[in-house]
Amino acid sequence: MKVKLHIWRQSKKSTRKDFKQDGKMVCYEVDHVSPDMSFLEMLDVLNEDLIRSGEEPVAFDHDCREGICGSCGVMIDGVAHGPEKGTTTCQLHMRSFQDGAEIYIEPWRASAFPVIRDLVVDRAAFDRVVQSGAYISVNTGAPQDANAIPIPKPDADKAFDAATCIGCGACVASCKNASAMLFVGAKISHFAHLPQGKVEREQRARNLVEQMDEEGFGNCTNQYECEAVCPKEIPIRVIADMNREFLRAKAKEE
């Protein structure tokens, strides 16, 4: 099959003052695309063509290419990770597109995610949110006996649903307000349902929300675009969990 691509090309890193830099949409045509190729393999084919003709290849993030690392992710026709539900960009296959399709490929757009080059964005803001308290502090020593702390199955499931987040940033990218609340909600909800997380719950809710605000993410307006594109299908329940945890923490603050 044959596709026509419109790709965002940008050679310099975005700054707060100049987010766009020299960026612009460039049109490419790719022949000999197999429907069995993944979306990233199709981009590989394009890049080989570009290298052969002496042009700069398109930079895009990728690593495991099996939907677990969270590295890849681009906006495909305005939808994060493309048209298939519950998949990352690397799990998307060209059979999801018509032969001769015109496809728009853009990087995640958020002031907290500056573009490094082409389709690659800097997601260090997520790391800083995690560093602000999305963990539990424990003394390491001899490991505890398994099942020493009983956790009801429904709670374990809720925590696990949130823990499946791979930090790809699709929630921010798809949100009309570039809000990171699904991501931060997942981190908070992950620990809120577990006894191990209860000790630091107030501090965690406060610190994570504070860091999220400092990074310049937007505010959720409950449109649930994040939930629709999340490759791990994390439910918007985690945002309600976060709101409750934050309100509880603020109410108890001295």
């Binding site: 419109h6 965002w8 987010f19 766009k20 960026g23 949409m25 906006m75 026709d77 305005g78 939808v79 728009y104 853009e106 757009r109 958020a110 002031s111 907290a112 798809s174 009309k176 307000n177 570039a178 809000s179 609340m181 929300v209 504070e210 999220m212 605000d213 310049g216 993410f217 937007g218 505010n219 959720c220 307006t221 409950n222 449109q223 649930y224 675009e225 939930e227 629709a228 594109v229 918007i236 329940r237 945002i239 309600a240 969990d241 976060m242 709101n243 409750r244 934050f246 309100l247 603020k250 603050e253």
Partner: protein
């Protein structure tokens, strides 16, 4: 009080402010509609004595007015702060934007919100401040018992005789419906009310209540315009 300000400044604090003030304003809209449903009984005395009762509250009325106005002002200023932050959170727009499941109502909250603000100003100029350029001339006084009181019925009746005014109010009801239908379910989520069993009920209730409010208000305007009231339909004696 600095803790309150810092709470308001945080993202979730701002959202909670929107939710709580939104809920209060929703309560007002319900009471406003229920009170005005008295127009449907045809007799002008009903609504006129209701209006008199409200006016006779005196200082209490002012407490309610100032309270309502501050809640409204807080709702609007918080909305401005949050939507400005949302705008700057995405400095470069997508060349090809896409939407998967965000409803039309949810996407137009800022627009519908400012339309409501504009209309509330018009509504106040029309029926509360009675600005001559906007309010048609009406029989200003009516006698209830021994006392003369403001003829609210005549004010509304003369206004809604005009199809332009009726249509303007109709358009406003559609916008209000959009705003409330998303606002109600959104505030539940913001306040942390999210449950597999209850969320679908909340969404349905939100839609239904918004429809009842917009429909109820519309019914009043049409009933006054068309001169058809509940007694005409044999519903009340």
């Amino acid at each position: 009080m600095s803790w309150l300000l810092s709470f308001w400044r945080s993202s979730i604090g701002g959202k909670v402010t929107m939710a709580v003030t939104g809920l209060m304003l929703f309560g007002f809209v319900v009471v406003h509609m229920l009170g005005n449903l008295q127009f449907l009984f045809a007799e002008p005395e009903k609504i006129n004595s209701y209006a008199k009762m409200l006016h006779d509250l005196g200082p209490l009325l002012w407490v309610a007015r100032i309270g309502l106005l501050s809640v409204f002002a807080l709702h609007v200023t918080t909305a401005i702060r949050l939507s400005r932050a949302n705008r700057s959170a995405r400095p470069v727009a997508y060349q090809r934007p896409g939407t998967v499941q965000a409803s039309m109502a949810s996407r137009s909250m800022v627009l519908s919100g400012f339309s409501v603000l504009g209309f509330v100003i018009y509504h106040l100029l029309h029926f509360t401040l009675e600005v001559p350029a906007i309010t048609p001339e009406f029989e200003a006084q009516v006698k209830i018992g021994e006392e003369f009181t403001k003829n609210v019925h005549s004010m509304v009746k003369t206004s809604f005789d005009n199809w332009y005014i009726v249509s303007a109010y109709a358009v406003f009801q559609v916008i209000l419906f959009l705003h409330l239908s998303h606002g109600m379910q959104s505030l539940a989520q913001t306040l942390g009310l999210q449950h597999k069993r209850y969320t679908p009920i909340i969404k349905l209730t939100s839609f239904g209540l918004a429809l009842v409010i917009a429909g109820g208000n519309m019914l009043i305007a049409l009933s006054v315009k068309l001169d058809r009231f509940l007694p005409d339909l044999g519903l009340v004696g």
